[in-house]
């Protein structure tokens, strides 16, 4: 991608987080949109592209109406929680091609206060899932991920302590983030002593269920000059998807992150050792082990030992989940938007007590669907 056609994140803001009783999902996005656009030195009337997921039917239309935007580029693709990394990829290309100038990527959920998460796979009549999955009582989505975790541990020799250590790393970061939902110290033993939900996943191997969301603003070099804060350049992005139904996945120890990571790192011209900050989609502890291997931070079966060495912790050699992640900071059902926001904060040097020194390159890596159905990787760089 040429210099002229390069794209930047010029605004990034969280919605209200945690348990949100005094806002709707739409008003939450609007609050974050104003804050992110203020950072960008832009107004809602400057926005000509809208990207969202999980904001109702024809989500970008509903969000566009609420914000008073009639875009010339729009997308409400459902790529699960990773949609927002996919949207960075698509916004980057749309901006580069001149099809839009200012893209707003937004999302909010009140899944905690609404208590509306389903436990069973959709048993709507006529679907393949209703016929071949629902009758067996597969928990949505912990059952899918548990089948992956069990197979990964069997094949790669990871132990329950390795998985638990991911949650401990996340909690160490959360202790440094005043916005994190849980900040008390956590030990491996405490994770292992928490109730088993679907073996081998304990309660504390699973992410939080909170309200939250955020907005990210993407634009080209020209409009990036208006930004009041340091812009972050989008160096590369990639995406892929695999199975929806867990039985259709030939290998549950590998994710489509292999493809999205290869594409993103290739476009950015970086290698894993260049990454200063890693923001993985930590919906479950073992997920992080798979991403570390899929993106090439270590070899197959080596992630458990890498995590046990403290590499992901504050001061470690691959600072990861630096907000506290979905495990300890916030997980609003679709975490991908918050991974991007934290990566931006780190690259701007505005992450406070949890700031990673000299962070120049950050990677946000999203997953979505049921046991790694989708993956998208975004490489960001400090300007």
């Amino acid at each position: 991608m040429s210099e002229l056609s390069s794209a930047y994140i010029v605004g990034a803001a969280e919605t209200p987080l945690g348990k949100v009783m005094d806002q709707s999902e739409m008003s939450m996005v609007a609050i974050a949109a104003k804050e992110a656009l203020d950072e960008a030195g832009l107004r809602l009337r400057d926005v000509d592209a809208v990207f969202t997921n999980y904001m109702g039917e024809e989500g970008s239309v509903q969000l566009g109406e609420y914000l008073g935007i009639r875009p010339r580029y729009a997308e409400s693709s459902d790529m699960g929680g990773a949609s927002f990394e996919f949207f960075i990829h698509h916004a980057l290309l749309a901006v580069a091609a001149g099809r839009c100038e200012v893209a707003l990527i937004g999302y909010a959920s009140r899944q905690r206060s609404r208590r509306n998460r389903p436990r069973a796979v959709s048993a709507g009549t006529g679907t393949l899932a209703a016929q071949f999955e629902a009758p067996y009582g597969i928990h949505f989505p912990i059952g899918h991920y548990a089948l992956s975790a069990a197979r990964y541990m069997h094949e790669c020799g990871a132990r329950p302590e390795h998985l638990a250590r991911v949650a401990v790393s996340a909690r160490k970061w959360a202790a440094l983030n005043p916005k994190a939902w849980v900040r008390e110290p956590l030990s491996v033993d405490e994770v292992l002593a928490s109730p088993m939900i679907c073996d081998p996943l304990h309660k504390l191997d699973c992410c939080l269920v909170t309200d939250g969301g955020g907005v990210v603003i993407v634009t080209g070099r020209h409009r990036a000059r208006d930004a009041s804060k340091r812009s972050v350049r989008i160096l590369g992005a990639g995406e892929s998807h695999a199975q929806w139904h867990v039985a259709q996945c030939p290998d549950l120890t590998v994710t489509p992150g292999v493809v999205s990571g290869r594409e993103a790192f290739g476009m950015a011209g970086i290698k894993p050792s260049d990454v200063d900050v890693f923001e993985p989609y930590d919906n479950f502890t073992h997920s992080v082990l798979l991403y570390l291997e899929d993106l090439g931070f270590c070899g197959k079966g080596e992630a458990g030992e890498l995590v046990a060495s403290g590499a992901l912790d504050p001061g470690g050699r691959l600072p990861s989940m630096t907000s506290g992640g979905g495990l300890s900071y916030n997980h609003p059902g679709a975490l991908g938007i918050l991974l991007l926001i934290e990566a931006v904060r780190q690259l701007r040097g505005e992450a406070g007590d949890r700031q990673v020194a000299n962070a120049e390159i950050a990677v946000a890596h999203g997953t979505g669907g049921l046991a790694f159905s989708t993956a998208s990787t975004v490489v960001l760089a400090r300007e």
Binding site: R119, A120, L128, Q131, F132, E133, A134, P135, Y136, G137, I138, H139, F140, G143, A146, L147, S148, A150, R151, H154, P195, M196, I197, C198, D199, P200, L201, H245, V246, A247, Q248, P250, L252
Partner: protein, 111 residues
């Protein structure tokens, strides 16, 4: 009610597949036939579900992916209290009120 587990067989390349589609995923041929699975297989992965998910199943229960001898992988339940990856299993059936019987599996030798 019949108790037959039918899968697709590609008469062109010999692959078996499940769930059914109007073409072979391996070679894209449309010359597919229904064959009855032998009903034997191996556990690819298994978990014990310890929280209530659906009314019909009282936790804890075993949820597994079983690789049929013919190749296709099925999500299913294992009848019993424990099972491990690699265990050999044999087809069994769960009867359901007003619904077709559901193919599940039992560990060989009754682990």
């Amino acid at each position: 009610m019949e108790h037959r587990l039918l899968i697709q067989h590609c008469t062109h390349c010999g692959m078996h597949q499940f769930y059914p589609r109007p073409f072979c995923l391996a070679c894209e041929a449309t010359a597919l036939e229904w064959v009855e699975a032998r009903g034997t297989g191996t556990i690819y992965s298994v978990t014990t579900v310890r929280v209530p998910v659906v009314e019909e199943l009282k936790p804890p229960y075993l949820l597994a992916l079983v690789d049929l001898e013919e190749g296709p992988r099925l999500l299913t339940n294992i009848d019993g209290e424990t099972a491990g990856i690699g265990d050999r299993v044999t087809l069994s059936w769960r009867e359901r009120e007003g619904m077709p019987p559901l193919p599940i599996f039992k560990v060989d030798g009754g682990r």
